[in-house]
């Protein structure tokens, strides 16, 4: 039996030995590197017409070309970039809103809770994609940032609900009372006493929101309501479908973008389970 460190190192110790977490990272990190290095790998404009149209993957064009002669690999790596950005911004914004509402409702309780809970429930039952369809169709979305903004504004409710429930149970713990007896102010109690206790939970919430944002963005792009500029994995699928890649048998056009999304989101989900095991001693396998 090897020695198990105590305290905070414990989490790291188990993280490094958690197969699910590591497997998720093994998939995610290379994609992240690829996305970060997109300009270096794929040159300037992913939409440039650079080669023979509709050619299958080759040593030169790894993922082949579109029927207009755009390099699919270049589109893919630039698309990954957009996907990560949408995930971080959309998921991040949703997490921030979810935390603000969840912490406030859970900690304050009473009427504040009632009102916020009502708001949460309303946004929760509103089908997010349908709302985004209307908003995007009318207002037009030019940039990834705006798309992420709208996604963030519609996808926070379940996070708020979950954080509220957690806060609610932590709020009645004695250490919160003790902080009050020490004269600590409310916001400081929330940020310094309650939030650290659920930091792993918050992180996992963010991961799920991150994955969710990517999926919603992909759907919007696919429908044709994505950012009008640039390239994204969803937009690649949209183009492939619109220009009948399916019927033309150009499988190299529609497989990479979908596989990219699945890999990112799947890796995030599996990491989430792994993290759960790392932070929750009950789930650790013996």
């Amino acid at each position: 039996m090897t020695a198990v460190p105590t305290g905070r190192n414990e989490a790291l110790y188990f993280a490094l030995r958690n197969g699910k977490l590591l497997a998720g990272l093994v998939v995610l990190v290379p994609l992240l590197v690829l996305a970060a290095a997109a300009p270096l790998i794929a040159g300037g404009d992913p939409n440039a017409y650079v080669a023979t149209p509709a050619s299958p993957p080759s040593a030169e064009r790894w993922f082949g070309t579109t029927m207009f002669g755009q390099d699919i690999f270049a589109q893919f790596v630039y698309g990954l970039r957009v996907t990560f950005v949408v995930g971080v911004l959309g998921g991040g914004l949703a997490a921030i809103i979810g935390m603000a509402i969840g912490f406030t409702a859970g900690y304050r309780g009473g009427l504040v809770d009632e009102v916020l809970n009502m708001l949460t429930n309303i946004v929760l039952v509103l089908p997010a994609l349908a709302v985004l369809l209307i908003v995007n169709a009318y207002l037009g979305v030019r940039s990834v940032g705006v798309q992420a903004l709208f996604i963030g504004l519609t996808s926070w409710p379940w996070a708020a609900r979950a954080i509220r429930a957690q806060t609610f149970s932590l709020r009645s713990r004695d250490f919160v009372d003790l902080a009050k007896l020490s004269g600590v102010r409310t916001w400081k109690i929330i940020t310094r006493e309650i939030a650290p206790n659920m930091s792993s939970y918050l992180f996992m919430t963010f991961i799920l929101l991150f994955g969710g944002s990517i999926l919603i963005a992909a759907s919007l792009d696919f429908i044709g309501l994505g950012p009008s500029e640039g390239v994204s994995l969803g937009l690649m699928l949209n183009n492939a479908a619109r220009w009948s890649a399916l019927h033309l048998g150009m499988w190299w056009w529609f497989i990479p973008p979908g596989a990219g999304i699945t890999a990112i989101v799947g890796a995030l989900y599996v990491m989430n389970v792994g993290l759960d095991e790392v932070f929750n001693p009950k789930l650790r396998e013996l």
Binding site: M1, A3, V4, R284, L286
Partner: protein
């Protein structure tokens, strides 16, 4: 002798190694006897109770034998143990408040539970027992959420003893109760024994005063081992083990005032059981400790029925 436990060793698997929660415990429980199992947190009393009916996934039988009514209890083998459970050994758990399936009517749950053990419900007997613990008969048509805490507690007591087991294990069942309810529950247990619903009983609690009220014999455990076992009145009036003595003298009885008589506790903490020290485990905290305590003191019968594991006893 209903129950015979010999040199029982049960370990907990943890990430840091095996915790020797029970490290060689031997004792017996006679016909019709209520054995009070007392000790402080971590002494192994709950582990002992669990071992006798169902070990959880982290527990491992490291040695020793248990026999009930002359037959060996296969406590280390979950599957082979199953036929004995409920019929021969039964349990009233600590968690009576949540022991019943929340989405089944109680009567139906009992029927299904018994059916899965190849038994059928003797409705007349069940109702008699409900009457005895003062539960309304229509409780069988209710869901657990409709019961008060005290009612759930009594209902679980009735369910657990429905098949008249030879041995009942009651694990800290009164610790969450108010004193008046606690008294009623404890008395009901005695009544169950008197009426033959259970033959003998192990009553596990951290409260020696409460054990003394209903137990025939009290066994005090310390750090995974037996410290002292004797008839209840003997434990209370003439304890021989220094731990028992110090424990009892640290209890403020009604009538004892700080201003008049300052009681004192036992300094120190029990040893960690991951790697327990050699010899007597109470040695570090014991005012009487001497060289010999570096050797394990075996439990010795100092008087009929009075076992003490101490060189000075």
């Amino acid at each position: 002798m209903t129950l015979r436990v010999d040199d029982l060793r049960v370990h907990y698997r943890t990430l840091r190694g095996e915790v020797k929660a029970l490290d060689g415990v031997s004792f017996g429980v006679g016909d019709g006897e209520i054995l009070g199992l007392a000790g402080e947190s971590g002494c192994g009393k709950t582990t002992l109770g669990k071992s006798l009916i169902r070990m959880d996934g982290r527990m491992r039988l490291a040695g020793g034998t248990v026999s009930l009514d002359g037959a060996e209890l296969p406590i280390g083998d979950d599957r082979r143990m199953n036929p004995f459970r409920f019929k021969r050994v039964s349990l009233i758990p600590q968690y009576s408040m949540s022991a019943m399936n929340p989405t089944r009517r109680i009567g139906r749950m009992i029927t299904e539970l018994l059916a899965s053990r190849g038994e059928s419900v003797d409705t007349a007997e069940l109702e008699r027992r409900l009457d005895l613990v003062e539960l309304p008969r229509d409780i069988l048509g209710r869901y657990p959420i409709e019961l008060s805490g005290g009612m759930k507690q009594r209902m679980v007591m009735v369910i657990s003893t429905l098949l008249d087991p030879s041995l009942l294990i009651a694990d800290e069942i009164t610790s969450a109760l108010d004193v008046s309810t606690q008294k009623a529950v404890a008395r009901t247990l005695v009544e169950f024994r008197d009426r033959g619903f259970v033959r003998s009983m192990i009553f596990i609690t951290h409260d020696i005063s409460l054990t003394y009220q209903i137990a025939d014999t009290i066994m005090v455990m310390y750090a995974g081992r037996l410290a002292e076992k004797a008839p209840a009145s003997v434990i209370v009036s003439e304890p021989r083990h220094p731990y028992t003595r110090m424990l009892i003298s640290s209890l403020p009885e009604v009538g004892v005032r700080h201003a008049e008589r300052r009681l004192s506790g036992i300094p120190g903490r029990p040893p960690a059981l991951l790697d327990p020290p050699q010899g007597c485990r109470f040695r570090d905290r014991c005012p009487l400790a001497f060289d010999r305590c570096a050797e394990d003191p075996p439990p010795i019968e100092v008087a009929p029925g009075h076992h003490v594991a101490c060189w000075k006893a």
